[in-house]
Structures are given as structure tokens and as C-alpha cells.
Symmetry: C2
């Protein structure tokens, strides 16, 4: 029997909304027999370079809204959420390490991705430096020295750039972003609509 | 007995998402015993001037997403939706006429607001010119000549500017935007969350 196509789940750990989605997507997918394909994207590329906008936290009105909104959404979803404690968090090393691990074990990489998001938004620890990333890997019992070498390799640096280019080519502009069966969804507030699609594969109200 | 506070519903007829919300908000509010206070806002002020962004239709990737997304949301909500047929639609005269009518009859003004949104997005007719606005008023059996005089008065022009300033001061940046009991909600995709608030007045999952 043919496998149903996976849900492409695009994340950047710097996004609190991406973290919230990272806590929900696997159980949602499993309820409808779908696999989740975790894919990296960089908001610094999509928002700043491609769309020519400014970061949400630095956007008047919208920044204040999202700072407040993330907390009530977390409460509603029953997951922890903390305030940003580190200025200018960089996701680059974390996403390189994620891609390196994904080449070896996709399930471990997904768990590592969830853990990196939670490190920043549930525990308030940084993810920017190599040592931050490896500390998180150690918590999960991963091979830290192999990851250290792998995440710095030229191949992985190139792969992250290519993956972000592919995300942009697929129309991904925000985080979280989901694509399944060619249907794109932006935002953790669209999980209800993603679920409708997974249930009915139609946009009729109740087909 | 004290009346529960109304839902402030901010709309700009140029937004397809605002139109979609305009078809839903009254029945949602009525289910929870709330009144809807229809309030004008101008995306040309909030998005361009206050946030310093560009219009969504002109934003790479996000523009394409919203053009597609509006159609599947309309289908899901069971309401008509058409493609934009008029470049550079201006909501200014429509919103002045709405405010003039609201001073006389808030319920009529809400019906007129819904009708203006549907004129643009369900029937594909323009709302920019005075004659467009008055044509819609005539469809509803309103006093067209009184509206013509009223919507051009200096007082109404000033009132629209003041209303938009008040919206910005309240944190309104997008359309549709809802505020109830001090809780702000942006987007037609947040109706589920607005409903949660109306039902429980809490962010606990099931209080």
C-alpha cells in the first residue's frame, strides 16, 4: 500500500511560534497516519532578505502582540514558555547540527529539533554557540564529538544554504510552516486547518 | 444585570480576510451573548506608516500565499470569494460613510459594513468612489442623499482619522482584529481562539 505523503514541517528555533508547533505536530500527524519531515528554514533569510520586512519582535504593535500572544497560546496548549533572555540568538549552528544528525537518523534529528526549540523557549537557555548546541546534544545522549566535527564541515554549511533555498522555492516565508499534499499552512494558529485537511483532504466544510 | 462588554471588531474592506471575518463575527458573538462593535481601521496607516512594512499582496511569497489561502478559507466557511478586479481600491469614502451611518444607527452601519466587504470580495464591484459607496447604500434602502452630504463633511473626515488613531493606540495592526475583555486577536484564523475566550474567559485548555 502506498504511504501517505509526509507533512513538511519548517522550523527555525528562534521563533516562539515554531517552538509551540514543535510540541504539537508529531501527535497531530500520528493521529492521521502521517509522518513529519522536519526541515530547517532561516527567518533571517525569508523575512529580512526575501520579503524585505523587519523581524517581528522589532515591528511596532506586532512585536508587542506576539510577546503577549505566545504566553496565552502556550498556556492553552499546556506547554511551558519563557521570555527571551538572550539578545541576537543565532540558529545557524543548531540547524547545521540538526542537518548533520538528520543525515544519520531522522527520528533522532526530530527529537533534537524539539529539544533545541524547548531549550530556548521552555528553559531559557541559549542555542547560539557551538557549546550550547553540543550541550543540548549531550542531554539527549548523542555523540557530541562526532556532531562537533560534522556540524562544522563545508558540506553541512552548504546543505543548510541549499535547504533554505529549497524552502523559499517552496513558498515558505514564516515559521512554523507546514506543507502537505501541496497545501501550505503558515502559523501555529492554523493547526485546526491543517487538521481539517488531514481529516478530509478537502476544503468543503464537512465533505 | 451588567451587560458583558462588546467585541471590538476592526475592519478595512480592502482586506479579504476582513471580509471573511465579517461573515462570521455576528453569529459567533451572538452564541455567547456578546454585542459586536464595528470599528474602522486603515491598513494603509497601520501596515505602511506605523509598522513600516509593505502591503501583503505586494510582499514576496506572502502575497501568493494569501491569494490562494483566501479561496480555501472562503470555501471552508461556505461564503463566496472572488479575485481582486480593481487596482488600488480605496476604503476611505466607504469608511466615512460607515461612520456617518454609525452615528445614526449602529445596527444599520454594521449591515452596511458587511455589505461593503461583500461588494468587493463576494461580487467583485468597486467601493472606491463616492458613487460606488452610494450604490451599495441604495441596495440596502438607505437614504443616499443624506449619506452623500454626511460622508463629505469635515466632521466625518476628522472622525475617521481619530478612529484610526484610536485603533493604533489600542494596538490594532492587522485586519481582521478583535479585542474583547482586553484580549487582542489578529486574523480570521484566530476565530477558534476568540471562541475559546468567549466560552471560558480563561487560557486554561478546559477550565
Amino acid at each position: 500500500m502506498e504511504q501517505p505523503s509526509p507533512i513538511d514541517f519548517y522550523f527555525d528555533p528562534i521563533s516562539p511560534y515554531g517552538y509551540l508547533a514543535s510540541t504539537q505536530i508529531e501527535s497531530l500527524a500520528a493521529r492521521y497516519g502521517r509522518r513529519v519531515e522536519w526541515r530547517p528554514v532561516l527567518l533571517s533569510v525569508t523575512v529580512l532578505q526575501v520579503m524585505g520586512l523587519k523581524p517581528v519582535p522589532a515591528t511596532p504593535l506586532k512585536g508587542d502582540y506576539s510577546r503577549r500572544d505566545k504566553n496565552r497560546l502556550a498556556r492553552l496548549l499546556g506547554v511551558p514558555m519563557c521570555e527571551p533572555r538572550h539578545p541576537d540568538v543565532s540558529p545557524i549552528r543548531a540547524l547545521r547540527a540538526f542537518l548533520w544528525l538528520k543525515q544519520r537518523d531522522a527520528a533522532q534529528a526530530a527529537a533534537f529539533a524539539r529539544s533545541l526549540c524547548a531549550r530556548l523557549w521552555a528553559r531559557g537557555e541559549n542555542i547560539s554557540a557551538t557549546e550550547d548546541v553540543l550541550d543540548e546534544a549531550a542531554r539527549l545522549g548523542l555523540d557530541v564529538e562526532a556532531m562537533r566535527a560534522g556540524m562544522e564541515s563545508p558540506e553541512i554549511k552548504t546543505l543548510l544554504r541549499e535547504e533554505v533555498d529549497r524552502a523559499v522555492a517552496a513558498g515558505v516565508f514564516g515559521v512554523p510552516f507546514f506543507i502537505v499534499d501541496g497545501e501550505p499552512f503558515w502559523g501555529v494558529d492554523r493547526l485546526w486547518m491543517l487538521e481539517h485537511w488531514l481529516k478530509y483532504q478537502s476544503w468543503d466544510p464537512k465533505p
